[in-house]
């Protein structure tokens, strides 16, 4: 059994009077190993954030269970740190106090000095040493998000949940923070579940990428394993031929195949989505994709020239 096990997750939003209920997603099942970095990609409205909220314990699913470390997830817990989309810092507290608030929640018995020292360590880790006494309003968007990351890491959760943490940032800042996150995660072997819209971000960060079909009645259509070496960086990633194969596969899914599942095609009651390794040469891994879509995905796009805006 994986460290985090999601089984048969389903979410139904009741319709307004007289209208049918909306099944956002159903039959969602996947596992995350300890120390694994998992990204989930899908179009808006497929319920990614709802899944993350269920993992966080902030929302309860209509059906299905989430089991972490052998225990069922029922309600929020300090075992799972969350980085929110809109940073969610408390604007009346300084950077230090924001992080210290979380630290104090985790270890209520610690002395003030110890709490502050611990908080400072994590603020320094995200490169914000010197900004401890600034209020969030004095920080740039990227810095705010870093504080959010420091706050989540500071409680040393068993698992980190990131809801599109870099969505609102400009491309340059996003790159820098991605590098930092990668460095921190590699150093701490943190287990991470992250929502993203950005294919490159997913390839850079994730060990495993969950592809969600379009909602309503979304499901996890495929699991793509990232076969690139784990010491990849933003600068070297483009030299690896695997990168283009994976990227192609993901973009093709988002552009062409993600909507196919809505009509019912591909729904065969099989709760386990196929695991694919598009990064490897087809000759190297012929049997890697034993799922229902055995044939290799069509590569219809020239990768280098392809720019897709998913927003």
């Amino acid at each position: 059994m994986a460290f985090l096990e999601v089984q048969g997750l389903k979410k139904v939003f009741p319709g307004a009077a007289g209208r049918a209920d909306t099944v956002v997603f159903e039959d969602i099942g996947f596992g995350i190993e300890r120390g694994e970095f998992v990204c989930i990609i899908g179009h808006s409205g497929c319920g990614k954030t709802t899944i993350l909220n269920v993992l966080a314990g902030l929302e309860s699913p209509t059906d299905g269970v989430v089991i972490m470390d052998g225990r069922e997830v029922a309600g929020p817990s300090l075992d799972r740190g969350v980085v929110f989309q809109g940073h969610a810092l408390m604007p009346w507290l300084t950077v230090l106090k924001n992080v210290a608030f979380a630290v104090k929640s985790r270890w209520p018995d610690w002395t003030r000095d110890r709490i502050d020292a611990h908080a400072r360590k994590y603020i320094a880790m995200v490169g914000l040493a010197g900004a401890e006494h600034k209020k969030p309003a004095e920080l740039s968007g990227g810095m705010k998000q870093r504080v959010g990351i420091a706050r989540a890491f500071a409680i040393q959760p068993k698992m980190l949940l990131l809801d599109e943490p870099f969505g609102a940032l400009d491309a340059l800042t996003r790159g820098t923070i991605q590098d930092e996150l990668l460095r921190i995660v590699q150093a701490t072997h943190q287990t991470v579940f992250m929502i993203t819209h950005d294919v490159d971000e997913a390839i850079l960060l994730a060990d495993k990428i969950l592809l969600m079909s379009n909602g309503p009645r979304a499901l996890i259509a495929e699991v793509v394993e990232n076969t690139m070496p784990r010491d990849r960086t933003r600068n070297t990633i483009f030299n690896d031929p695997q990168y283009y194969r994976i990227r192609n596969h993901l973009v093709d899914f988002l552009v062409n195949r993600s909507k196919l599942y809505q009509s019912g095609a591909g729904r065969d009651g099989d709760r386990h989505p196929p695991v694919l390794r598009p990064g490897l040469d087809e000759a190297e891994a012929p049997a890697a994709a034993p799922g229902r879509q055995g044939e290799p995905p069509p590569l219809a796009h020239k990768p280098a020239a392809l720019v897709v805006n998913l927003r």
Binding site: P76, A88, L93, S105, K135, A137
Partner: protein, 278 residues
């Protein structure tokens, strides 16, 4: 500190004030009448003697201001007290009623804001009770409390309650979900969440309510004291009206205005203290 703009605004204010004083002066000053043929006759007719009960000139008011402010705290019996003492009585009543109102409004507003059920259940009562003029409660208060001074405090309590209550409930109900989610994922216990997350988040709205409340309380105390009598700046106004001393009435009006401004300024400062930039 003094930019050109503020300096010019201050100058303009001064010009307006002088203009108003001039208009007032020329409207009220009594022209020296041609001396009557017979001084004795003029005296009999009440002419030639400076009237003390007419509408005062600015100069007369100035005299009164100096006179009152030089002896603010004398006490010559029930109907002759220094304006400082009267003001202190009013402020004490306002402070009492207002403090009681805040002690009720903030915790109750917290509950209403946190519980949509309670909000719906109590809303009809609030909507009916809110528009009632606080003075309408006076007879009931006098009958039940049987003490005019305490009844005044009660009236202040009632009128301060609603803005503070409604604003607190609104502020608490509209705390950003993100912050509550943070508190939830950090397993923050309810009391700590109330004091460390919800209270600071709602503080600007709560303070706005308190600022409105203190403003209304200061409006109402004058009317209430006119009604119950005895002491206070409102009673002072009524008493001087009965004395037909308009100079003192105008002086009291000025004092009421300045005091109201100070109260508003203090709460404005408090509001600024808890306001945060998102």
């Amino acid at each position: 500190m003094f930019t050109r703009e503020t300096l010019r605004a201050a100058l303009l204010s001064l010009v307006f004030a002088l203009a108003a004083l001039a208009v007032w002066h020329f409207a009220t000053v009594q022209p020296e009448r041609a001396a009557a043929a017979d001084d004795e006759y003029a005296q009999l007719m009440g002419r030639g003697v400076r009237k003390s009960d007419g509408f005062p000139t600015p100069a007369q008011l100035g005299e009164a201001v100096v006179q009152h402010l030089s002896r603010p705290f004398y006490d010559n019996g029930p109907n002759d007290k220094g304006v400082g003492i009267q003001l202190a009585y009013s402020l004490a009543r306002v402070a009492g009623g207002f403090t009681l109102a805040i002690l009720v409004a903030v915790p109750l507003g917290f509950l209403i804001g946190m519980s949509p059920l309670l909000n719906r259940a109590l809303n009809p009562f609030i909507q009916v009770l809110k528009p009632i003029s606080p003075l309408a409660w006076m007879p009931l208060a006098l009958y039940t409390i049987k003490d005019s001074s305490v009844s005044g405090v009660f009236v202040i309590f009632i009128c301060s309650l609603w803005p503070a209550l409604i604003n607190t409930a609104y502020g608490v109900a509209s705390v950003r979900r993100d912050w509550l989610s943070v508190a939830k994922t950090l397993e923050v216990p309810p009391l700590r969440r109330a004091f460390r997350v919800i209270l600071p988040a709602a503080a600007p709205t709560i303070l706005t309510g308190m600022r409105i409340s203190i403003g209304i309380a200061w409006l109402v105390i004058v009317a209430a004291e006119m009604l119950v009598g005895g002491t206070g700046i409102g009673y002072f106004v009524w008493n001087e009206w009965n004395n037909l001393n308009l100079t003192n009435v105008i002086f009291a009006i000025l004092v009421i205005g300045v005091m109201g401004m100070i109260l508003d300024f203090v709460f404005g400062r408090l509001q600024k203290l808890v306001t945060y930039v998102e």
